[in-house]
């Protein structure tokens, strides 16, 4: 259970830092009137959406950290046989990086009000993300053809489950991205798209990060790190 504990420790540090700025040590019965430390929020819906996404990413992070914890515990058992990673994963990784970069470009374009650059960035991100997902499907087919079946070894099963769950999350993101693209094409101004594009970009970067972590675990690079995590507990 090492990776989830590391993840939660990180969250705990953020939470403590945040709480320390919220006056949790103050004596509320001594304070009257409209408290001064309450910062006026100019735009509730954008800050709420951003906070919402941050909390959601914490949940997604916890989900993947738990999968990795399970992976780390399961891989110690003697029947484990590593899966050779299909080469196409590297291409897919490149696609996902491009996708993230494109969305970052779109975010910048939205901020600066450049409509064409925004549309281009959104579209490029969508296409590359779809390319990533198709590439993942190809990787599945390839593994299946080579005899790495789901049920034949838990290493295979974890490969399918981890890539599958990651793919589903990206697919969910694509729905949000698709809606943003539609709105952009229907003539919503870049200023009004700023929030949605920003949220998509953050989500994309996070999914890229998750993918890189998954990849490093599946490729075995993270083995050493996992060993350390495990030793913390056992």
């Amino acid at each position: 259970m090492g990776s989830i504990l590391v993840f939660l420790t990180g969250l705990l540090i953020v939470a403590i830092w945040w709480l320390s700025r919220q006056g949790v040590l103050s004596k509320p019965w001594l304070e009257q009137g409209v408290a001064v430390d309450f910062t006026e929020k100019s735009d509730l819906s954008s800050s709420a959406a951003r906070t919402g996404l941050a909390v959601f990413l914490a949940v997604v992070g916890s989900l993947f950290a738990l999968f990795l914890s399970a992976y780390a515990l399961r891989m110690q058992l003697p029947d484990w046989r590593d899966v050779p990673l299909p080469a196409i994963l590297w291409l897919n990784t490149g696609m996902l990086i491009l996708s993230s970069v494109a969305l970052q470009g779109a975010r910048k374009a939205a901020r600066e009000g450049e409509e064409d650059a925004l549309k281009l960035g959104l579209l490029a991100a969508g296409v590359t993300a779809l390319a990533f997902l198709s590439g993942q499907l190809l990787a599945w087919r390839q593994l299946n053809a080579e005899g790495y079946l789901l049920a034949s070894n838990s290493a295979n099963a974890f490969f399918y489950v981890l890539t599958g769950i990651h793919g589903l999350h990206l697919l969910g993101g694509l729905i949000a991205l698709g809606r943003t693209i539609l709105r952009a094409w229907r003539g919503t101004t870049p200023e009004r798209l700023q929030i949605s594009v920003g949220l998509c970009a953050t989500y994309w970067h996070f999914m890229l990060l998750v993918w890189l972590v998954l990849l490093s675990v599946l490729a075995g690079w993270a083995g050493n790190v996992i060993d350390i995590c495990r030793q913390i507990l056992s």
Partner: protein
């Protein structure tokens, strides 16, 4: 019974959501069925959860009939018995308590108590309820599936949960259970995001964190924990579903089942237990923390005294929330895991007793030198302290690794967790319903019926579960369809079992009285006014009762003080609402 006139609210501008931004329903369907109003969603959640609770109650009757009078009720065979205990447990823990505290009370109270017009994502909030409802339907559907629901025990330990020796293991039961849980978790995540983000972003002007009532703190912390803990159950459910349906070996080692060698290899049953309890232990506090928060507010309001040690109460809540993620393996002392874990988990478990004890002290110290009104909600709150204290103290037996060895998997455990996370939170739920029903409906629940309900429930539950510990101490294991002959169990124990069954039937029947009261008072209850308990918190200061969609009419309230200005020396009344400016106050006079 003075209502606070709205004139007391200062001329501050509406802080947050403009009224026009809210989605206003136009038809009956969008107003009451696919509603985006957190208060309607709260009622939908509560009624669904209470209905599931009634099903689970009937299941508990059936299993008690079997335990109290083995062999008399022949329609309860071993298969049915295990299905009943499994569904009773899972329903009560997840679909009743979690849904009711977070989905029900969370939805109703968070926006009102922090001074928001609604949850920050109303549409997602609506989806959350309907997905929860779907999860309930899937769960209930398993009663009608071939082979019936799963009988694996609510802990669903593999391998038995997915093998043929367990009811539903090779039928639909376990699949429906796992799918239902996954759907529930997706729905809950949507709701949980709302509860957390509304507290973070939706608070009215002046509502600093440390001015929030403890109810909000409890629900907020619990929601956050649930968001992080439920994924563990999700991961376990996905993996078990793969094992059951697709033949993988996540949790399945080499197995010879009834002489047949299965095509599995190498999996780890303990891996599931780690995942399950990584969710399962925080789950206990996910249920307990909202109860802690609510009971703090009930005691404070009805004792007319500020909650003693508010800051400590907040810190204790946060400490319990954080610590509860590092105690999970205390459910696994005799599971065959590395025995050295026992030292660590026993220590963390007993450490968590300290902030919990502080909370108990502070509730009791709030009564000291108070002005105690023994209204029905207060009675339930006091009964909560008794049962929670009792269950918490027996937790010190089970958390202390070596003491747990003879007691684990016995009726002692059953008695302990029913006392601490069954009876105690349910007493709070009742207390909270008696307390907030006037806000929801504008009418009081009937007092006499309430008192009968209270005394029978409280004393009955205590009579059921206190002696049950001693069955476990004798060595009677839990999850036995019939005890049968056991050389170390005296005959009198069977009499005790029959006694417990009879009391359980009575306590169960009295709940029908409560349901009757809920409906009867809707029409015939005494009109309550806006603030019948003369409470300080914002939900009692709404311009209309019941509050309409949008809660606050034209202006969102501004908050000038903490939630516990009761019996402030020199004040005209023995309470000062949070949204009342005024400078007369005793305590420190120092501003800011």
């Amino acid at each position: 019974m003075t209502d606070v006139p709205l004139g007391h609210v200062g001329p501050a501008p509406a802080a947050d959501v403009e009224d026009v931004e809210l989605y206003h329903p136009h038809s009956w369907i969008t107003k009451y069925v696919f509603s985006q109003d957190a208060k309607v969603i709260a009622i939908q959640y509560s009624l669904t959860a209470l209905s599931v609770g009634l099903i689970a109650l009937v299941l508990s009757w059936l299993m008690r009939l079997q335990l109290g009078f083995p062999g008399v009720f022949t329609f309860i065979d071993a298969n049915a018995y295990y299905q009943f205990i499994t569904m009773h447990g899972m329903m009560m823990v997840v679909y009743v308590l979690t849904a009711l505290f977070l989905g029900g009370f969370g939805n109703y109270l968070i926006p009102l108590m922090v001074g928001a017009r609604d949850m920050v994502f109303p549409y997602v909030n609506m989806l959350s309820f309907w997905i929860y409802f779907l999860a309930v339907l899937i769960l209930v559907a398993s009663f009608f599936a071939p082979g019936g629901p799963t009988g694996a025990g609510w802990t669903l330990y593999p391998p038995q949960a997915i093998l043929s020796g367990t009811p539903g293991g090779q039928d639909w039961g376990i699949i429906l259970m796992l799918v239902s849980l996954m759907v529930f978790i997706i729905g809950f995540t949507m709701g949980g995001l709302n509860y957390v983000v509304t507290v973070l972003q939706g608070r009215a002007r002046g509502m600093t964190l440390m001015r929030m009532p403890l109810t909000v703190w409890g629900i907020f912390t619990a929601s956050f924990m649930a968001l992080l803990a439920f994924p563990a159950l999700f991961v376990g459910a996905v993996m078990m579903l793969f094992d059951r349906a697709l033949g993988t070996s996540f949790f399945m080692p080499a197995i010879v089942e009834m002489g047949q060698t299965l095509d599995r290899n190498g999996g780890s049953p303990l891996l599931f237990q780690h995942l399950f309890w990584f969710f399962g232990h925080p789950e206990v506090y996910i249920v307990a923390l909202p109860a802690f928060g609510i009971v703090s507010d009930l005691i404070s309001t009805h004792a007319r005294r500020n909650i003693f040690g508010y800051r400590m109460m907040v810190w204790a809540l946060l400490a319990i929330g954080a610590l509860s993620f590092v105690v999970w393996a205390h459910h696994m002392y005799v599971s065959g895991m590395n025995p050295y874990f026992g030292f660590f988990f026993a220590t963390t478990t007993l450490i968590i007793a300290i902030p919990t004890a502080i909370k108990v002290y502070n509730w009791v110290l709030t009564l000291w030198r108070g002005d105690i009104h023994l209204n029905v909600p207060m009675l339930f709150a006091l009964a909560f302290i008794v049962t929670f204290l009792n269950g918490g103290l027996t937790g010190l037996f089970l958390g202390n690794v070596v003491v747990d060895v003879p007691l684990s998997d016995t009726m002692f455990v059953v008695a302990h967790f029913h006392m601490v996370m069954g009876v105690a939170p349910i007493l709070v739920i009742f207390g909270a319903i008696y307390h907030w029903y006037p806000k929801v409906t504008g009418r009081m629940l009937d007092d006499t019926l309430g008192k009968i309900h209270f005394w029978v429930t409280f004393l009955g539950a205590y009579l059921i579960f206190f002696p049950m510990h001693y069955l476990g101490l004798m060595g009677v294991p839990r999850r036995y369809y019939e005890i049968g002959e056991m050389s170390f169990v005296p005959l009198s124990a069977h009499t005790l079992n029959a006694f417990i069954t009879i009391v359980a039937l009575i306590v169960g029947a009295v709940q029908l009285l409560f349901v009757f009261n809920l409906f009867w008072s809707l029409r015939h209850g005494r009109a309550s006014g806006g603030n019948p308990w003369r409470a300080t918190t914002l939900e009692w200061q709404t311009p209309e009762t019941p509050p309409p969609h949008g809660n606050w009419g034209k202006e969102v309230p501004t908050v000038y003080r903490w939630a516990y200005d009761y019996s402030v020396p020199g004040a005209a009344e023995d309470y000062i609402p949070q949204n009342q400016p005024g400078t007369q106050s005793s305590a420190g006079m120092s501003h800011g």
